[in-house]
Symmetry: C2
Subunit: 299 residues, 2 copies
């Protein structure tokens, strides 16, 4: 299933996306089935999830409203957002921006490099990223986020996939200036709204794992990243296991699996995002997430 959160006058309700015969995506309202649950709570509720699956299989897509006419919220609002640095082979070797002494990437890293983004970063799939006056060196990172489906604490790697609800797209927007002001990247990663998420969660019954997916990232129509998830260093099951040894993961929490290396041309230039630019992340089976970056003069 592809699951979304729909924003109706500020209330966020679960929905499912179904394809109509005309090729358009349509919205199946799951608010009745969810009975007040958020999408994150629904992901943790086997009965509600089974009911949603039944509703999707019986839906007459052609009669449903078009997804384009709906305002989407972030599919989940994570309490905890954990992100991977240097988690694609080739990222370190070719692209050392933000690289800190002591860090290693690819197969050489003895442990995953994990950092935190704060909850204020999460944005809906159609929300622009508003770059505040203080952020003058804004950059994008196209990533696949793992969405936790049930509370995970001290989970063995062999059991870990049962705690994963599905996958979605995430733009780990960063201000490189703030990121590099000291050893800890925290502030450059945690600017308000610097984490567009969505558009939907593809559940693990539809996409069991991240093997062999193609990712493309476009900036202003130019492809700057083209990679396969097979270049990922630490996989999903290991990450859930590893992180859950110290942090109890909750339904709706996300683990973003890191960004692949950029193309050689892109690595040679670094231009901060300017007012009006767009970035699109596209991954096989996960759809695409397009974000517009805008400047604010507000202080």
């Amino acid at each position: 299933m592809r699951l979304v959160s729909v924003d109706t006058d500020g209330t966020e309700q679960p929905g499912a996306v179904v394809a109509a015969p005309d090729g358009t995506d349509r919205l199946l309202d799951l608010a009745g089935i969810a009975g007040g649950l958020s999408l994150a709570q629904l992901l943790a509720d086997d009965t509600a999830l089974a009911a949603a699956r039944l509703a999707v299989s019986g839906a007459d897509a052609a009669t449903l409203p078009r997804l384009d006419d709906v305002r989407l919220a972030p599919p989940v609002r994570p309490r905890t957002i954990l992100c991977l640095g240097y988690n694609y082979r080739g990222h370190i070797e070719g692209h050392n921006e933000g690289l800190v002494e002591g860090d290693q990437g690819g197969d050489a890293a003895p442990y995953p490099n994990v950092f935190i983004k704060t909850a204020n970063t999460i944005g809906g799939p159609n929300d622009p990223v508003v770059m505040p006056a203080a952020a003058t060196d804004v950059d994008y990172e196209g990533e696949i986020a793992v969405v936790i489906g049930r509370t995970a604490r001290n989970v063995a790697e062999a059991d870990a996939m049962a705690f994963v609800a599905g996958y979605t797209l995430f733009n780990d927007v960063s201000d490189r200036g703030w990121q590099n002001r000291s050893s800890q990247w925290a502030l450059g990663k945690s600017v308000d709204g610097f984490g567009p998420l969505g558009p939907w969660i593809v559940t693990t019954d539809e996409l069991p794992n991240l093997g062999g997916l193609q990712m493309e990232v476009e900036r202003g129509g130019v492809v700057t990243v083209r990679a396969s998830t097979d270049a990922m260093v630490y996989g999903v099951a290991f990450l859930v296991h590893y992180l859950s040894q110290v942090i109890t993961l909750q339904p709706g929490d996300i683990i973003s699996t890191g960004t692949p290396a950029r193309s050689v041309q892109e690595q040679s230039v670094h231009l901060p995002l300017a007012d009006g630019e767009t970035v699109t992340i596209r991954v096989t089976g996960l759809g695409e997430l397009t974000t517009t970056f805008v400047r604010t003069d507000e202080r």
Copy 2:
């Protein structure tokens, strides 16, 4: 005022601490005045805060229950927990554990070193810190936390103190092993429950600023840190201003102002905390926060 959150069968309600003539602390229930607000919400509500102040001034302390008989929750449950590294002069020069290439401390640092702890770290003032099997190198850091009282976004330094509700004590518990596995300290700082907070918030009408306060930290009865807040590098107003340029701070969010250097004897040995050890943080005007560390065999 000294404000607490009281845990009554899992419901957390605001209260105030008042001193009785016999020298004991007593609890004034503010649940009626709060009318369902959490303490964080009450801090943002001028009317409710004024009513609380009036109730405290009119309270007959001798008739109130003893604070010792009450179960305290963390005074606030922050969405965002921002912490300072190397924010006391002397910390860097004498104590470079966890120091990362490129970091500077004291007056030499061009910017504050800021890191994030996740929300799962927050513990109540009497809760033990449970050290999971994976955490084998657990350490303490006694700090003063600034509690945000109203939503702060792009706040000028001159206006910043109006956004501060008060101060409390915070133990920035860390697993040094996990902290030093890669450049980003995130996981070593964010273990479940590795952030005891409290016991109460002293509001800014009682403690307007952090100037000239004495801090002592004891481990097992031995003083390991003795410092004055006058050695703090970046002050409260600057920090609120600086951080609010990129992160909108909410009522109940905390900024922990960093740990002073340890005594010379303590710096020469580093012994991870063992099962049953206690650490007490004590600051003029802010009371004390004693935490017991326990091992769990649970996996």
